[in-house]
């Protein structure tokens, strides 16, 4: 059996070194990369397509759950979360991680987690990957409103702050975020986006359109029950009847 390709992500070099040391000491594991934050983790996963990642849950900016939630479904590694917090253990299991390790990580516990990962990798499935990504998204959502989107261009990932977004439409499994003349693709569905965004700031006007309330210039109602919504920058969108209530609420 070829060795399992591993990356380790932790924002603290010393904490990460503990994991990388253990990975190097373990037969059958090959350390292919290490990252210091969530965006680096996404870049590494996209570029290196590892089999297994050890990732710290609590990292500034983009945490461990956020990283998993932003993954492309067709390449999801097995995940072992590492955390200083007792309470994330449950979440880690709910999300569908292979295992979680408490800091400080002990050798025996590490070995046990690796064994579980081997079993999991032997039976990997797309359905499982989907569940993992969706679970991480849920965990992410339960921790508050979204403040930014993770966007990928090639092998690099970056943030687009929610406040910068003018409007959003759907493109297959992606959200197309319109920021001025540019647009960015971020993984997710309209339903998720609607749930994750501040209802006072964004309103869904169509099955495949969400607009930033403060970008709206005018709303004209149409006799069919729909509305024509004009945004700053000359974008004209049409709301559907299904979402007419929400548009009407804006007019009040």
């Amino acid at each position: 059996m070829s060795s399992i390709r591993v990356i380790a992500v932790d924002d603290e070099p010393l904490a990460r070194e503990r994991v990388t040391t253990l990975v190097r000491e373990t037969a059958g594991l090959e350390l292919v990369g290490e990252g210091a934050n969530g965006l680096e983790a996404l870049d590494l996963i996209t570029r290196l397509e590892p089999d297994l990642i050890f990732i710290d849950v609590e990292m500034p900016e983009l945490d461990g759950f956020g990283v998993i939630a932003a993954l492309e479904v067709d390449r999801v590694p097995a995940v072992i979360f590492i955390t200083a917090y007792e309470q994330y253990a449950m979440t880690a299991f709910d999300v569908g991680a292979v295992d979680y390790l408490h800091k400080p990580v002990t050798r025996s516990r590490f070995a046990a987690a690796v064994e579980r990962a081997k079993e999991r990798l032997a039976a990997r499935s797309v359905a499982h990957w989907r569940a993992l990504v969706a679970g991480a998204g849920l965990a992410q959502r339960s921790r508050g409103l979204r403040t930014r989107f993770v966007v990928r261009r090639g092998n690099t990932h970056y943030f687009v702050p929610v406040n910068d977004v003018d409007w959003i439409d759907a493109a297959d499994n992606y959200l197309r975020l319109h920021v001025g003349p540019k647009s960015h693709l971020s993984r997710g569905t309209m339903k998720q986006a609607e749930d994750e965004l501040d209802a006072a700031q964004f309103v869904r006007i169509h099955r495949s359109a969400i607009v930033a309330v403060d970008r709206i210039v005018s709303i004209r109602s149409h006799e069919s029950g729909s509305h024509v919504v004009d945004l700053k920058g000359g974008v004209r969108l049409r709301s559907s009847r299904q979402y007419a209530d929400r548009v009407r609420a804006l007019l009040r």
């Binding site: 924002d11 603290e12 070099p13 010393l14 904490a15 070194e17 503990r18 040391t21 210091a36 934050n37 609590e58 990292m59 500034p60 900016e61 200083a84 917090y85 007792e86 408490h102 800091k103 400080p104 990580v105 508050g144 409103l145 403040t147 702050p161 501040d198």
Partner: protein, 345 residues
């Protein structure tokens, strides 16, 4: 005294044997009782709002007595007028006095007794509740202080760091362990304190940052300075820690190039300013959508210690970092030695 009593007895009918007559003898049924009943709520209200500072006690008692006597006199006069106002023959003062006293003094005395008892009870219950509330508040403050200062995140990452170093550099592991012990000792030493000398607070922050420096390797530099004129100040225990934690997370942890944290304590007249600045990305200005638990804890604790007389401002300078500043009254630490003020219980 005895003579006059006998004389009074002679003028009133013999002690009645049946209940209605007995009640009548005590003035029950006289208009005074009705006036007293009407006055009761007002007197209760008044008693409730009277504040009795210790040094003014005698004056308040005297005033209450004067009020009582004038009430009795006034109602006696009213009674007299009501009873004999239109009568052709009015009794003399000496004849009216025993009846008047019986019918007027008793109700008002009883009333004064009731008001005093009710109010005394209310005040004692209130004082007890207040004591309980203070006790709970102090306990809560202490709890917030303790839960605020050592995050599991900090503790376990440090332990993880030590466990890393053990295999690579035993000396360094030793050093980190010693620093962590210093920090824990500080926490244990102050577990019963709400206010501590600023010197202790600064030492705590320094040790905390030294450990962080080991954890973040070469990515962190810091300074901790207290100007000499705040040397005797007292500050809420571990008040700076959440701010430092924030600076670490958003100022240093968030960027690969690392950064610098500056902690300073300065004095301006009767105020003291504590500042934690980082040179990170700088929190976007404008109202942050939500504050971390650390910051809201800090606000709560400042509020509990100083009420309105304090400020916590977090200013982001995008591209240049974030400055968190606490302003609060300068309080001198009570003892000149380095011991801290125990919780007043």
């Amino acid at each position: 005294m005895r003579g006059s009593g006998e004389r009074m007895l002679r003028r009133v009918p013999a002690p009645p044997r049946d209940l209605p007559a007995l009640l009548d003898a005590f003035g029950v049924g006289s208009t005074t009782w009705y006036i007293a009943a009407v006055a009761l709520p007002f007197l209760l209200w008044g008693a409730r709002h009277v504040q009795v500072p210790h040094e003014r006690r005698r004056r308040v008692v005297l005033l209450a007595l004067v009020l009582l006597v004038s009430l009795i006199a006034a109602s006696a006069v009213i009674n007299f007028v009501v009873m004999y106002g239109g009568a052709l023959q009015r009794p003399g003062l000496m004849q009216y006095l025993p009846v008047g006293l019986r019918e007027n003094v008793l109700p008002w005395l009883a009333l004064a007794g009731i008001v005093t008892a009710v109010e005394a009870r209310r005040r004692s219950v209130h004082a007890m509740l207040e004591r309980e509330r203070l006790r709970a508040e102090v306990a809560e403050q202490r709890l917030i202080a303790l839960t605020g200062q050592l995050h599991p995140h900090f503790l376990f990452n440090t332990l993880q760091g030590i466990s890393t170093l053990i295999h690579r550099d035993a000396e360094a592991a030793d050093e980190m362990l010693a620093k962590l012990s210093d920090l824990l000792r500080e926490v244990l030493r102050h577990r019963d304190h709400v206010l501590v000398p600023i010197e202790d607070e600064m030492r705590f922050v320094r040790t905390y940052l030294e450990i962080a420096q080991l954890r973040f390797a070469d990515r962190l530099t810091f300074t901790v300075d207290a100007s000499p004129d705040v040397a005797e100040a007292s500050v809420p225990l571990f008040i700076l820690q959440p701010l430092v934690e924030n600076a670490l997370a958003h100022g240093i942890g968030a960027q690969a190039r690392g950064g610098c944290i500056r902690v300073a304590a300065k004095r301006a007249a009767d105020r003291i300013a504590l500042e934690v600045a980082d040179d990170g990305a700088g929190m976007p200005n404008g109202a942050p959508t939500h504050e971390g638990i650390g910051l809201s804890n800090t606000r709560e604790r400042l509020w509990a210690s100083f009420g309105e007389d304090q400020r916590l401002v977090v200013e982001g300078h995008p591209g240049h970092g974030t400055v968190a500043r606490i302003e609060m009254p300068y309080r001198r630490h009570r003892s000149s030695s380095a011991t801290s003020v125990p919780v007043p219980l």
